[in-house]
Assembly symmetry: C2
Homo-oligomer: 324 residues x 2
């Protein structure tokens, strides 16, 4: 399988992704210079824009109505960015996408209020679709994400989590936003209900695959590549799939176990990363991610045979192969 680069996959929607960027820039034009500066800083940070991309692609199977798809594609990116701003404040993270975080440059207060403001703007954009079903999905998704984050905080350093709990957790904190992005694209282009269902199934599995790979990269990548420190999950006590497999395989002498007993003993993080890298855990995690990725595309052939269909399949391949 040759995996196409993300830019080649995006080709189909490139002009419209440019419009999403323009919408993001338009959001920064507010009558309060400091707020304008904060918003510009957030949106200039880049990112793959994968969520708006899948909204637009999901919208191409039926009536590609940019009047509603563009605000929605912008909305999901703004919502994503807001959750990052709050997460960084909560995690006391200093770096994101290779640049200091909002809470680092300014403070936690600023990050919390800015995140709130961006949630609101994301909500306004969702409401700009004039589609109440989409608005309901939007609000529901924010509830699921924050409840998923609360669940993650609650289970920090809890070694007795099952793999099922892990999947449920990443479904809440990550897959739900992929579902919003894709379901809304389908709904706004007036896809028939069975097609919406197929795309929803795609979105859920894509989101799970995406997050598993994120969790893998937190062990295997470098700070330079990721634009943020490696081992961040263990630092927060978040047990991801690689850490869970490490706990299963080395039941006696285990750095993750020691870390949970003494959270200050940070040398265990480095050791856990080493042990995971030098075992078959990483290939096994990739196998799980690839399963979800395959499951994502499984029923896409039932949708109209349009170029966007292949692009979605390519994205499912991409999320597993990506290096950052």
């Amino acid at each position: 399988m040759t995996v196409r680069s993300i830019n080649r996959i995006y080709q189909l929607i490139q002009p419209d992704l440019v419009k999403v960027e323009e919408n993001l820039t338009a959001l920064t034009r507010v009558d309060f210079p400091w707020l304008s500066e904060l918003l510009s800083y957030c949106f200039e940070g880049g990112g793959k824009r994968i969520r708006p991309a899948v909204t637009l692609l999901a919208g191409q199977f039926y009536d590609y109505d940019l009047d509603t798809l563009l605000p929605m594609a912008t909305s999901v990116e703004v919502m994503h960015t807001s959750t990052l701003v709050h997460d960084d404040a909560i995690d006391k993270a200093d770096i994101r996408r290779g640049r200091p975080t909002i809470n680092k440059i300014w403070d936690d207060e600023t990050a919390v209020l800015l995140g709130d403001y961006m949630f609101a703007r994301a909500g306004q954009l969702a409401a700009d679709t004039n589609n109440i079903r989409v608005v309901k999905l939007f609000a529901q998704t924010l509830a699921i994400i924050s409840s998923g984050e609360l669940n993650q905080a609650y289970n920090a350093f809890n070694l007795k989590q099952t793999r099922q709990q892990y999947i449920a957790r990443i479904a809440g904190k990550t897959a739900s936003l992929f579902c919003l992005s894709i379901d809304s694209g389908a709904i706004l282009s007036h896809a028939p209900e069975p097609s919406i269902e197929i795309l929803h199934e795609y979105a859920y599995n894509l989101g799970i695959a995406f997050q598993i790979v994120d969790d893998i990269l937190d062990f295997t990548s470098t700070e330079k590549e990721m634009g943020k420190p490696i081992g961040a999950d263990l630092t927060q006590g978040t047990l991801t799939l690689p850490a869970m497999l490490l706990l299963e395989r080395f039941q006696e002498d285990n750095p993750v176990k020691r870390l949970s007993e003494n959270r200050m003993a940070r040398d265990n993080i480095k050791q856990a990363i080493e042990m995971v890298r030098n075992s078959s855990i990483i290939p096994e995690c990739y196998r799980v991610a690839a399963e979800y990725s395959a499951r994502a595309s499984r029923r896409l052939h039932q949708l109209p045979d349009k170029p966007c269909r292949q692009a979605l399949i390519d994205i499912a391949d991409y999320v597993v192969s990506r290096k950052k």
Copy 2:
């Protein structure tokens, strides 16, 4: 002028306010015991429920449609509670309504995520009205509130604020939610546009009066009465009307000025409170609040002569006379 007690004013809508309470309790029934506990803690704290009350009262002039008014009345109370949860985390406040805050019992992380979750639930309730105009107002209001809070943070300890800036700030952080509460009640009961406008004017002025009195009470009340420490605004560097008048009157030797030069010199807060209490500043602030309160009710006589009209007038009187 005899001011009626808030319970007598609420008589007209008492059975429906009970339903709002039931809705709040229903929100706590989630499949995650800790989250359920957090939500119960927030909603059991009480409060005047003035925002849902005015939504319901504004809805009584025309078609009193409880199917949409009840979710909306619940929505504004949930949004209000979320902003308090975030504010307390940001201000590092320990006490609210006589009980420890969420950030005090748990931590800042919990408060941020719980606030996010409640914003989302408030949004879901607003969307339950199936009225896209109301949903747009909801999202717009959250943007205005958080932008107002950012403005307040930005201007902390800034002595060069004008009274106009103060009014603009409290319009954003307080009056906007009164406007949402009342405008949505009017819209959902199919009030004609001129009536919506009259009620909007009422809401704006009511909100300003309400916040001025809040700012007065932060100087004149007691911790026991308020359920939270007095002098909290000065501690945060928030310059309210009493502090601004104190700065105007004592231009040379002024405790607020000294506090802005050395934020650690907390004895200046106590001294500022004493000076404000022993001057004519408080009556003057009440005069300003009473002006806004009068302006609130000024055009209500143009609305249908129904009992809810007198109740709104009574609420405008109440917000100026209230002791907590």
